[in-house]
């Protein structure tokens, strides 16, 4: 237990101490919010879908949590490069605990980031249908964070270099974001797009957030929660297995 805690705490400390990074990582979602929210707003309204800011704010929260959590897992690459990973790998603690500590730490950071962005959205004019929705939205933030922090850990256990990192960012993380319905409604898509978007775990997270916050459901709350929990379990197991196989 002590090991899980101390590694969780380490992730948190790293986050709090890297102020520049906090600003940078919040800057990107803000850019989306501003550029797309105000840029596409009129088109969206003309198409009869109402306010684009209302629509995309949950998506941007989902995106923030996605990037932040995957990134924390992949940051293992740096621990490998700078050697600290070895120190934890030879410790008399099961790799499972080390993996869980790191992953929960990353997930916690992602939850904080998501919460900050939600606050920024509120400041920018976003309004949930009711304040009672916030706890449910928070549940989805946590689920997304755990699912993708676990995915990040799994990936971080395999890739060895910057190249792999670029590859994963461009061909996995970005598509997960773009195909999740964060920026456009999942209704009335062609068959191919429908299938692809339904294969994307983040779709269910974004749907849950949007459903909770503005009551627009593509799926249903029970379905989203159950599916995310199941995917989370699968990714955590995969992460634990791959992490236990790391050689240094």
């Amino acid at each position: 237990m002590g090991a899980i805690y101390i590694l969780w705490l380490r992730e948190l400390k790293r986050y709090v101490r890297s102020r520049v990074q906090i600003v940078v990582s919040l800057g990107q979602p803000c850019l989306y919010l501003l550029a797309l929210g105000f840029g596409l707003g009129p088109v969206f309204r003309q198409a009869g879908h109402g306010s684009y800011l209302q629509f995309m704010a949950p998506g941007v929260v989902g995106m923030t949590v996605l990037f932040s959590s995957v990134f924390s897992g992949i940051a293992m690459l740096w621990d490998r490069q700078f050697g600290f990973l070895k120190e934890t790998l030879v410790a008399p603690v099961s790799r499972m605990q080390i993996m869980v500590g790191r992953t929960l730490g990353g997930a916690t950071v992602a939850v904080i980031q998501g919460t900050l962005i939600l606050i920024i959205c509120l400041i920018a004019g976003f309004r949930p249908h009711s304040w009672v929705a916030i706890p449910l939205a928070f549940l989805f933030v946590v689920l997304i964070a755990v699912v993708f922090a676990a995915l990040g850990t799994a990936i971080g256990s395999i890739i060895q270099d910057m190249q792999g990192f670029q590859l994963v960012m461009n061909f996995l993380v970005m598509p997960i974001f773009f195909l999740s319905g964060a920026l456009f409604p999942l209704a009335n898509l062609g068959v191919v797009m429908s299938v692809i978007t339904r294969l994307d775990p983040l779709s269910y997270g974004v749907d849950g957030l949007r459903g909770a916050l503005i009551q627009t459901w593509q799926f249903s709350v029970a379905f989203d929660v159950a599916l995310l929990a199941a995917i989370g379990a699968v990714f955590l197991s995969a992460g634990a297995y791959l992490f236990s196989r790391i050689e240094a």
């Binding site: 090991a3 050697g83 120190e87 790998l89 410790a91 008399p92 270099d161 190249q163 240094a248």
Partner: protein, 261 residues
């Protein structure tokens, strides 16, 4: 305490460790000497569960570290050749994290951390981030950290690299004391013959992945008909230079890994 039989490690078609066999008794200080690229670090990584052997058998305190990983890890401490500190945390935090991972009780953790940081003259920098430390200070911190818990077996992979004579002396005094007081088994590698001569009970000389000779310092000198360990070493490994090559190769590999097309 350590028993190794026909240990082999290959990376692709390159064999870094070729069928080595040796024993280290409990309470013994055993040194691995060898030019860069001889396979010393690779051997230590296999002994400490960081690498899976290609073939061969290892026992640490009667346990196979490839099977009973956690139990084996409980029994040893290690100072790595390469950096292994968390530079984004303070010296104190690095020590504390290590103590938690090794189940050192809180009070003992604090008192031993203070004692060790004082011994290695890092106490007044304890709240500074490791990233602000010089190379020598980082090395001292790694060594202090290695002593924080009291393992049955201590692995020291070129621990004195980059240390000034005072710190080297400090380190070996500490190692000897630990070895005498707690019968800690020590497995070390070094480039400095005088260190091996001073602290090691037995020495194995490794070259190109094989052990070319082992015994006490006196035995090695007799065997080669030389009168210093340095001469014995050169007689056994030849005087051709490959040190730079091996290091350069490792550096290249690192770069290639980072920027592989």
């Amino acid at each position: 305490m350590i028993s190794v039989h026909n240990l082999v490690k290959s990376f692709g078609d390159f064999t870094a460790v070729k069928d080595i066999t040796f024993e280290v008794a409990q309470g013994e200080i055993f040194a691995f000497l060898g030019p860069n690229g001889a396979g010393k670090t690779t051997t230590i990584k296999m002994l400490t569960t960081l690498l899976r052997p290609t073939s061969g058998r290892i026992e640490l305190d009667g346990l196979d570290p490839t099977v009973k990983q956690k139990q084996a890890r409980q029994r040893f401490g290690i100072v790595f050749q390469d950096p292994s500190l968390d530079s984004e945390q303070t010296a104190w935090e690095n020590m504390d994290l290590h103590g938690v991972l090794y189940h050192v009780p809180r009070k003992l953790r604090a008192s031993r951390t203070e004692e060790l940081l004082r011994t290695f003259e890092l106490w007044d920098r304890k709240d500074d981030y490791v990233k602000t430390f010089s190379g020598g200070m980082k090395r001292r911190l790694e060594i202090a950290r290695g002593f924080l818990h009291t393992p049955k077996i201590l692995f020291l992979d070129e621990p004195t690299l980059g240390l000034d004579p005072q710190s080297r002396n400090q380190l070996w005094t500490h190692v000897k004391r630990l070895n005498e007081a707690e019968r800690t088994t020590v497995f070390l590698t070094t480039h400095y013959m005088d260190e091996a001569d001073r602290v090691a009970h037995r020495i194995a000389i490794m070259d190109h992945g094989s052990i070319v000779a082992q015994g006490t310092s006196t035995e090695l000198k007799e065997q080669t008909g030389t009168d210093s360990l340095e001469d014995a070493f050169l007689a056994l490994t030849g005087s051709s230079l490959r040190d730079e090559g091996a290091d350069a190769k490792a550096a290249m590999r690192q770069v290639a890994k980072m920027w592989r097309r």
